[in-house]
Subunit: 218 residues, 2 copies
Amino acid sequence: MNIAVLGTGNVGKALAGALAAAGHVVTMGSRTADNEAALAWTTDNGVLLATFADAASASDLVINATGGGVSLAVLNSVGEQALAGKVLIDVANPLDFSNGFPPTLSVCNDDSLGEQIQREFPSARVVKALNTLNCELMVNPSGLPGDHVLFIAGNDADAKSKTIALLWEFGWPAERVLDLGDISAARATEMYLPLWLRLMQTVGNANFNINVVTGNTP
Amino acid sequence: MNIAVLGTGNVGKALAGALAAAGHVVTMGSRTADNEAALAWTTDNGVLLATFADAASASDLVINATGGGVSLAVLNSVGEQALAGKVLIDVANPLDFSNGFPPTLSVCNDDSLGEQIQREFPSARVVKALNTLNCELMVNPSGLPGDHVLFIAGNDADAKSKTIALLWEFGWPAERVLDLGDISAARATEMYLPLWLRLMQTVGNANFNINVVTGNTP
């Protein structure tokens, strides 16, 4: 599949690298297509580099791996037409570090970044996913022993199926990807971030995730 | 120990019943001391019934098991003097159901109910705990197979130690009680509630909890 990964930070690199290794044609989207550091990394990792808009236009599926504070601006520079009908996996968290650590959320409670993106680009098929764990674990769930889970949320069942299929390529069994419902459930996973950030301090590193233990588990 | 459990709902009953069964002298706090339904329940379960204020005054440790929307009003009816120096375990979540289900939080992001209570009653030693799971599991962690965790937050180390000791009486091993830091970490556990509520829908019941899986686990 032709996949755009918007964002050249650690999350973008982890996702783009893993998708290219899985055989996809990956275009990393950046502010400019001639950023030297990004060009060096993409060349080394078999990934193409383009502007945000060109990357999205060239791809069938788009992943938003930009910082939550700039995601809407980046997607606006891409424009609705390049996103229309496409699965748009939103990995970003609307973290606001302006008052230091731990950050607050710039949107929460009765709205979420995932919903903002879906409202702004109604013809895109937004799936909130992968925003509840460290980027190394996103693409390598076996980095932790035992079961642990991911959450997805979105309005389009087919888009969620395609997301689950892509996550399977990273090593996530479908039964460990919990569907929380429509895109308004993005509130739930984004509002988990304060707990994730506290846990990072308690655990001492970012190499952790949560499992959901039910009474049905044998 | 003499323990007050403020609130006669399901959470109050679960906690009061388990504490009485463990041998504590438990006084359940209610709006009135002659509520017939509450009197019948307390009599059946070896628990005393009193007004919120009298229950707190008679006890060494106070548990706030009232609804998050009324917690501050109830504690104000108790007054600072009856809480001074005491461990005050806050189990409540500031859920606002005024716009239906799922509820929003009446306070979050840069504040929390736990912090509001600590600010309002500075001489109480507030510990946020037990607000991230169903009341049956609070007092019976073996109701789920395998490991799952609780979170505590508070400014007073001794109060947290006493809370951990009390949780141990419910069956929670100390290593499954994760200390997230000072009372501002109440934001993290209260903001987990939206995810808990979505998970309840996905799981199909409230009999679940989360485990934190780390790279250090064998």
